[in-house]
């Protein structure tokens, strides 16, 4: 592994660390900034994913839809105060690919897109202190290097369990 590759690995690791920290510290308004404008974001179960079923518990096809998620959570939806703790590990590069057409139009660096996977575990803590192991699964991601650094072009959150306790408010 050459130095450039090592540097890139560290950048990608920071991408995940920063992403998790953003969600876990209630900086939800910054969350859409981890994505490109015409991104895909989907939360689904391993059962649906493996069966090739397209349903998303959350299904967004633009960064603006992610912004709408956040403003709905802030202004419209009613849920109890809660916080997440993400543990993200096992980040691995699955493949490199040529930049997708829309990425080229966006003036992206020629390094193209990288397909990544990572494991996550999320503990949810409610206001009364009750904690549960809320979610585990893997991220199936495509990241591209934009001028402002690495962004997700696509993130599929594949939950190991199809059961969601009570509700899914804060994104994963």
């Amino acid at each position: 592994m050459d130095l450039a590759e090592i540097a890139r690995r560290l950048e990608l690791e920071s991408l995940y660390t920063d992403y998790a920290a953003c969600l876990d510290t209630d900086r939800l308004e910054e969350w859409p900034e981890f994505f490109i404008e015409d991104c895909q974001y989907r939360v689904t179960s391993a059962e649906n994913y493996e069966a090739g079923l397209p349903l998303g518990v959350i299904y967004a096809t633009s960064k603006n839809m992610l912004k709408d998620r956040v403003s709905a959570l802030r202004e419209a939806n009613i849920y109890e105060p809660q916080r997440y703790r993400h543990l993200v590990s096992g980040i691995r590069v699955v493949s490199h690919s040529a930049p997708p057409p829309q990425a080229r139009e966006g003036g992206l660096a020629p390094s193209g897109a990288i397909d990544l996977e990572a494991s996550f575990l999320v503990v949810r803590t409610m206001q009364d202190g009750g904690m549960i192991l809320f979610a585990t699964g893997r991220y199936i991601d495509r990241a591209i290097r934009a001028e402002a650094g690495w962004k997700f072009a696509s993130k599929i959150v594949v939950l190991d369990s199809r059961q969601i306790d009570t509700l899914l408010a804060i994104p994963l």
Partner: protein
């Protein structure tokens, strides 16, 4: 100390003692009298089992069930409990079997309709052991359910007393199921929620047309559904089944509606979506009804929220625990645009749904407030004391209807 028998309040269905949501003895009785009683419960879509040999599991209350498509091409259902020692016969939730079902414990085999076809070592070994000569295979099959299909949805019951399904729901509810199920269903995906409340609290919520635009502020803000929008609630004579429906906002009057909602927390005038594409909907049925929430007693819901279609099955998992299973579908003849539309609109419902997220939590809020109030009652008087259909959703008539159907089964 023996608990006093529950005496129903004199106000009838307009009062519901909180104890019915927390008492383990009432819960135990419900599993027998309601879920194994003369009621039909949803076992899934027939389209989930396209080929002979396909199977899936389901529940009647807490009783595990296997649903199959037999060699005869028909849907069959039986209790998922081996006739030998009570082991689960089907361990996988769905699959395909070419040669029937085999219990893993002692390899007893059943055909796809539940008949016992062979018992391992039935004649013993070398003339020793084995089953008595008197043992009859045909006396030891899996317990069979009655099944009925309606518009591609499979229902089952263990009771010989339930009338045929179409008679059970009646023509009006049947027609309202039919208007949604216009084609051959195509599965889009499933999800499930664990709710920390009694199953009836969720089912009351489904039948509560009063709360929708008050608890769910997303609905109100975007004028997707308000109590001031044209619509109403259909309720069967028994009160058991219902359908609430809403027409597009064009039939309402926004200015006077805003006035009515202006004092209520749920209206945020300055809230705008940056990418409202996911709300782009079409009147695919052609009758102007944009929302229809339909329930069949005791635990089935058919949802049409714009173009998002789903079955919901409410499974009791204990006095204070419920699993809510969602099955989203479109139709085989949907084009890619329509499928994308349904997927986008699925954002409105489910565990992370913009308009249904709160329903996952509100039952738990009630459950947590019940301790100490077991002898007190909820007040259900919106729209009066009866459960007749009403041309408005500012009523709790369908909730009273639920209790009108539940109480005779429970002898309360």
């Amino acid at each position: 100390m023996q608990q006093q028998a529950l005496e129903w309040p004199k106000e009838g269905n307009a009062r519901v003692p909180y104890r019915v949501f927390s008492d383990p003895e009432i819960y135990r009785a419900e599993l027998d009298r309601v879920f194994l009683g003369p009621t039909w419960q949803c076992l899934g879509l027939a389209a989930e089992l396209p080929e002979p040999g396909d199977y899936k599991t389901a529940f009647l209350g807490e009783t595990p069930v296997i649903v199959t498509r037999g060699e005869d091409g028909e849907i069959h259902a039986m209790v998922n409990r081996c006739a030998h020692r009570g082991n689960l016969v089907c361990l996988k939730e769905r699959g395909h079997s070419k040669d029937g079902l085999t219990c893993v414990y002692h390899a007893w085999r059943y055909d796809l309709t539940g008949n016992l076809t062979s018992v391992a070592f039935r004649r013993g070994v070398g003339g020793k052991g084995g089953m008595p000569e008197s043992f009859q295979l045909d006396a030891h099959g899996l317990k069979k359910l009655r099944t009925d299909q309606f518009a591609g949805i499979v229902f089952g019951t263990l009771s010989p007393d339930a009338p045929p399904f179409s008679e059970y729901i009646g023509n009006d509810i049947g027609g309202r199921i039919g208007r949604v199920m216009r084609g051959k269903p195509k599965l889009l995906g499933t999800t499930s929620q664990i709710l920390h409340n009694n199953w009836k609290l969720y089912f009351e919520n489904v039948k509560d047309t009063y709360h929708a635009s008050l608890l769910h502020t997303f609905f109100t803000t975007f004028r997707l559904s308000r109590l001031t929008t044209a619509g109403g609630v259909a309720i069967t004579d028994s009160g058991a089944h219902h359908a609430s429906y809403t027409y597009g906002e064009q039939r309402g009057d926004n200015a006077s509606s805003d006035q009515l909602y202006s004092e209520i927390h749920s209206l945020h005038e300055d809230y705008r979506l940056q990418d409202p594409r996911f709300l782009d909907s079409v009147d695919e049925i052609g009758d102007g009804v944009t929302l229809q929430i339909l329930s069949v007693f005791p635990n089935f819901v058919l949802q049409q929220i714009h173009n998002s279609l789903a079955l919901r099955v409410v499974l009791p998992k204990g006095p204070d625990k419920t699993e809510l299973q969602w099955t989203y579908f479109g139709f085989e003849d949907d084009d890619a645009v329509m499928t994308e539309r349904r997927l986008q609109q699925a954002n409105l419902v489910g565990p992370a749904g913009y308009v249904s997220m709160e329903d996952g939590a509100v039952g738990g809020f009630i459950q947590r407030a019940i301790p100490g109030a077991e002898d007190e009652s909820a007040v259900i008087e919106m729209g009066g004391y009866e459960h007749a259909p009403q041309p408005t959703r500012a009523t709790e008539a369908a909730v009273r209807g639920f209790w009108n159907a539940w109480r005779p089964l429970m002898g309360l």
